[in-house]
Symmetry: C2
Subunit: 350 residues, 2 copies
């Protein structure tokens, strides 16, 4: 903490918005649905159960496909529920042949938040909160599927995705999500495949989506203190509520179900590539940067850590092994240097 002396200890950071949820309870078998009974398909909030079912289906499919690519390890399943509704299921593969660590987490949350948080989160929230008493908290529901996969081979990129649906009891709702890729070397063909897959998915729903969500990913996945992205982007969106929810649901569903199409072939292509010790060290250094992003900037991670989420599920995103070297600078013109340039100046891949 080189600069601790410049920090008035008591004011340096603020507590995050309290969403006041209860702690989780491990269960051996997950209920058929984590959504409260009244929120089911025949209830007031049909999208809640619909989105959860879609996520659970995708979790099953994706983990089966990834286990097949790995060929050796299997996913360990951990389930939990919460007293006031909601819960989750983590599926984590560790010490595989291809993957050092790969996790896919389902999470369903019932909580409440201050009106100001809602107002800041979405423009429509302002209207919704107008009729409420000052200080009154807004109950909300959130469901999402998120994942990070860290392969062993330095020529196999890390991949992250997160698709989520958010809805207040007042009926304000939005979708968010994205899939992004973090190699440690540039492979033009890989990037054209990954970004190309998501461009096609986006184009099936709205031709404005890919350029907008690609640029959003380039802005979001930035390690600000280093002025570089953590990887080579993908798509990212949030607060999406500008059309029929069923249309956004269809887009989210296709994006989520395209993860393995976008990522799998890249892993198959490189999982047996030879590599040098230097390449492995570079991968480890880049994984250190991944940790810096996740623990310092990723709002979901920080929020989860400070508000009582299931720690092991939140932190499954951290790579199994990392390296933090003092003042590491790749030689100008090297492949490592090329990669860093692409992290400092976002490029188009399709």
């Amino acid at each position: 903490s080189a600069l601790a002396m410049a920090t008035p200890e008591k004011t340096a950071d603020k507590n995050p918005t309290s969403i006041g949820w209860d702690t989780h309870k491990p269960v051996s078998v997950i209920p058929d649905s984590l959504v409260r009974e009244g929120d089911g398909p025949d209830g007031n909030y049909p999208m809640r159960a619909k989105f959860e079912a879609m996520c659970r289906e995708a979790q099953k499919k994706i983990t089966a496909q990834i286990a097949e690519i790995d060929g050796e390890a299997t996913f360990q399943e951990d389930c939990w529920t919460r007293a006031n509704g909601g819960g989750g299921m983590s599926r984590v593969l560790a010490n595989g042949k291809v993957f050092e660590k790969a996790g896919v987490n389902l999470s369903v949350v019932y909580g409440s938040m201050p009106q100001e948080a809602l107002q800041a989160a979405t423009e429509r929230g302002v209207d919704r909160a107008k009729g409420m008493a000052p200080g009154e908290r807004v109950p909300f529901f959130a469901c999402g599927l998120s994942s990070v996969m860290h392969p062993r081979n330095p020529h196999c990129p890390t991949m992250h995705f997160n698709y989520r649906y958010f809805e207040t009891d007042g009926g304000v709702w939005w979708f968010g999500g994205g899939t992004d890729i973090t190699p440690c070397y540039i492979d033009e063909e890989d990037m054209a495949h990954f970004h190309g897959t998501y461009k096609r998915v986006c184009d099936n729903h709205d031709e404005k989506f890919y350029p907008e969500f690609k640029a959003w990913a380039d802005r979001y996945f930035v390690i600000s203190h280093r002025n570089e992205t953590r990887g080579l982007g993908g798509i990212f969106f949030d607060d999406l509520n500008d059309r029929d929810p069923d249309k956004i649901f269809a887009f989210s569903t296709e994006a989520l179900n395209s993860v393995v199409d976008a990522y799998g072939p890249i892993i198959e292509r490189h999982k047996n590539d030879e590599y040098t010790e230097q390449e492995k060290i570079w991968q480890q250094i880049r994984r250190g940067r991944y940790v810096e992003f996740n623990l310092v900037y990723d709002r979901g991670t920080i929020f989860g850590l400070k508000t009582g989420g299931r720690i092991e599920s939140i932190l499954m995103s951290l790579p199994q092994t990392t390296r933090f070297e003092y003042d590491h600078k790749p030689e100008e013109g090297s492949r490592e240097w090329d990669f860093l340039q692409a992290c400092k100046h976002a490029r188009e891949w399709v």
Copy 2:
């Protein structure tokens, strides 16, 4: 980011207090003093130059002693200055025989902060800010020496210290600092030596210091989301301004110059200990926890990252290699489990 869906993206975290400093400029030779000319021993703020000189002396001495314990690697020196005064010097030893990474950073900062930050930071600040116009920022000076040392051998603990002096141009001042130790196994003799050394140092100045500052360290170095400390404590204090500054200066000086007395013998005793692969893995897991603390909770680190400090100096505190394992739980009754118990329930060591 398992819980990203529960986070209103735009409100999850706040920007830290801006202290509005200028960026640093590398220099090959460090000036004799980084303190502004008017702040010298004959100027208005004699403690500024006095504290800096003391830190620089200690930096030289400590790095010489640590290099001798390592026996192979030497410290790399990086110096920088800032246009409006201040600057720093990092001394980092990497890839040593005994130490994987060891750094000692000198930092001198001139900045300004909002009155509210000052008022929150120290009670006397309230009075000082009373005569100021609303919104007027408070210029301040800060100087500190900080360090983290990560040995290779899992039986050699990591050690951290940070001693600092803080003063506004209005004359509000305080001292802060501490030294703490992070082994990954309990060695009662080591802990009695480390804590015993600092108890003697404290007792030389005020018999209330050790019990108070030991308890403060146990409260401060907590990985809150895991409800465990990062290590086995030491001393920590802040906002100390309740007596003649020369008396606190004398205490800070002795505490800083006792770092190697407290830590060196432990390293000498264990640097050639044999260890198993399992012990090395456990060390790596505990180093992952060290990263979690530093990037999520250490206010100096976060503040530095978000306000334009010299990144490589701030992050020299991160261990060179780490491990993040999913849901790792030591076997009940094992030495790893014993260690965790001590992290969950603070113990007395002297």
